[in-house]
Amino acid sequence: MLPDKLSSNLHGADAAGIDLTTLTPGFDDTVHDSQGVFRALLDALSRPGKIVSIDAVLPDLEQDGSSVAAHVPMAAFAALLALADYSTPVLLQHEHRGLSDALRFHTGAPLTHDHAQAVFAYLHDAGSMPPLDAFSLGDPETPEDAAMLFIRVDSLTEGTSMSWRGPGIRDSHAVRLTGVPASFWQERALLASQFPCGIDCYFMHGGSVIGLPRTTRVEVT
């Protein structure tokens, strides 16, 4: 059902223009690496606030010196490689040729500018991200249709101090993040009433990730 709907919103459709000489390599072992990354992402979302490492899977990327490694946290690139495919439109907040080429080549995922259509979104700069409800929140019957956001942050251990509560957390969990604006937390709190609809997020820095499912209640302390 996707192709026709999407084609009007596709960009980077000049796929013939993918430059194979500068293409950032993907997983060495697609199946097992994808499984490893999926497991790590699942773990992060099941234990909100816990810092989970995806270092093991793409160790070469950091040394690769490619433009993608310089631009995108390795965890975000690995997550997109593992999760995105032909049927999941991906939104990139900023155009980045190396990243879009790599995604299109390795995953076949269509790129979109339409926030509502994005299944995954990579947000390079949380400070200038669009309002949360611009993304799909899913429907009460299909809450799994909600978008999943990968948000780059400058630190997972410093910055705004918060207390997270909810499923997957015993009592509460102290979390610190740098670079996520206050408006994000306000918008997110407003979405809570729409459960089971809502948005699941990952905060990523380097090879590490913190998961924030829609069920977690966040209190800025």
Binding site: M1, P3, D4, A13, A16, D85, Y86, G108, E141
Partner: protein, 384 residues
């Protein structure tokens, strides 16, 4: 009594070993190869591909071997494998009119453009066991020329239904530019009300036996169905995929399919004069029974959209579509083999309590009755 459902891993592993032994059978006989299944059990392969929703003869043959010939189990195996496959794109719609036909018949018209092509069919066999097949290598092999008709000499074979269409006597599905993309049951759950594209997808994956029975029921009166086999064709069609980098469609392979178009009467309504309507069936490989049954059921399920009276389960999409999938049906029926010790214990307890209650009541009544009898009947004199 509570028996926990845990452990048993070793028993399960031993069961797998036994299964392998049973599957192999007597090893004094040579082992069946996947190629042999693919080539010599091709109708079983076609059914497994159709209901497994994967066109791959080798994998279907492997599934049949692994399932020891249990086709529903083989379909389950192929469906499970299918979920692991990445998706590269969607092909353009098949052009079945351009099929390289091996068999093509119409029961509605005798003389049709392109002619009737009997092809290989069991239809006119006498259903006598052929004991020459018992002897190894005893089967008759026909000459190559009889086996493969010269496809290149084939004249164009327009659809039989287009003859009726020229006179405007049959309704035709018209392509709408703004029609929504068809849904995909392998990715989204069945939701009602359900449009014809999704109904057809469901029926294409549906159990052949179930469709056959429901289709038969429509003929016997459980739907107002008076069908003619407008056309049944079997042969090879090209599969084309639009390649984004190229900007046009290229042929990526050929598949064998069976297509059936049934012609049904339609009484007409206030707006539409009486006309013929269609039921449609399509299946992988040579699967005529399946394609025909599918076409019958498709037509029956169109009752509501055509404004006909819905009087039977065969016309009820919820009844038909929810029960047509043999992987789901088999799973739900066979899950009854799994331990239900606690469920059953609670029912047993309930039943015992109910019976004890009833017995107690009966006892009370009995005692009360006996007491009554023990007392002397008040005599008429006393009453007076």
């Amino acid at each position: 009594m509570y028996v926990a459902v845990k452990g048993g891993e070793r028993a399960i592993e031993r069961s797998w070993d036994l299964l392998a032994v049973n599957r192999r059978g007597d090893d004094t006989f040579p082992e069946l190869s996947v190629d042999q299944i693919r080539e010599q059990l091709r109708l079983a392969v076609a059914r497994v591909m159709t209901e497994g929703s994967v066109y791959d003869e080798e994998l279907a043959a492997l599934a049949i071997k692994q399932a020891a010939g249990d086709l529903v189990e083989a379909i389950f195996l192929l469906r499970a494998y299918r979920t692991t496959l990445p998706r590269f794109g969607y092909t353009v719609p098949l052009d079945t009119e351009a099929m390289r036909v091996e068999r093509r018949i119409s029961a509605a018209f005798k003389d049709i453009p392109g002619g009737q092509v009997l092809g290989g069919t069991y239809d006119y066999t006498q259903r006598l066991l052929d004991f020459s097949l018992l002897a190894e290598g005893g089967s008759r092999t026909t000459s190559a020329s009889a086996a493969s008709p010269a496809a290149s000499q084939q004249e164009a074979m327009p659809r039989v239904l287009s003859l009726l269409d020229k006179e405007g006597l049959i309704e035709q599905e018209k392509m709408h530019a703004d029609a929504p993309e068809p849904g995909d049951l392998s990715r989204e759950p069945l939701m009602f009300p359900v449009g014809r594209p999704v109904r057809l997808q469901n029926l294409a994956r549906a159990d052949e036996g179930f469709l056959l029975a429901v289709g038969y029921a429509t003929q016997r009166g459980y739907a107002h169905s008076h069908p003619f086999a407008g056309e049944i064709r079997y042969g090879e069609v090209a599969v084309e995929l639009e390649i984004e980098e190229l900007g046009f469609a290229v042929e990526i392979g050929d598949i064998d399919i069976t297509e059936c178009q049934m012609i049904n009467q339609f009484a007409g309504s206030g707006e539409v004069p009486p006309t013929f309507t269609q039921g449609y069936g399509l299946a992988f490989g040579h699967s005529e029974r399946k394609a025909m049954a599918m076409a019958l059921v498709d037509r029956a399920l169109r009752a509501q959209e055509l404004g006909e009276t819905v009087s039977s389960p065969t016309q009820d999409p919820e009844f038909v579509l929810y029960h047509s999938d043999n992987v789901e049906a088999s799973g739900f029926v066979q899950h009854l083999k799994l331990p239900h010790y606690v469920d059953f214990q609670s029912e047993l307890e309930l039943l015992r309590r109910l019976r004890a209650g009833i017995e107690k009541e009966a006892q009370h009544e009995h005692e009360a009755h006996e007491e009554q009898q023990a007392q002397p009947e008040p005599s008429e004199e006393n009453a007076a």
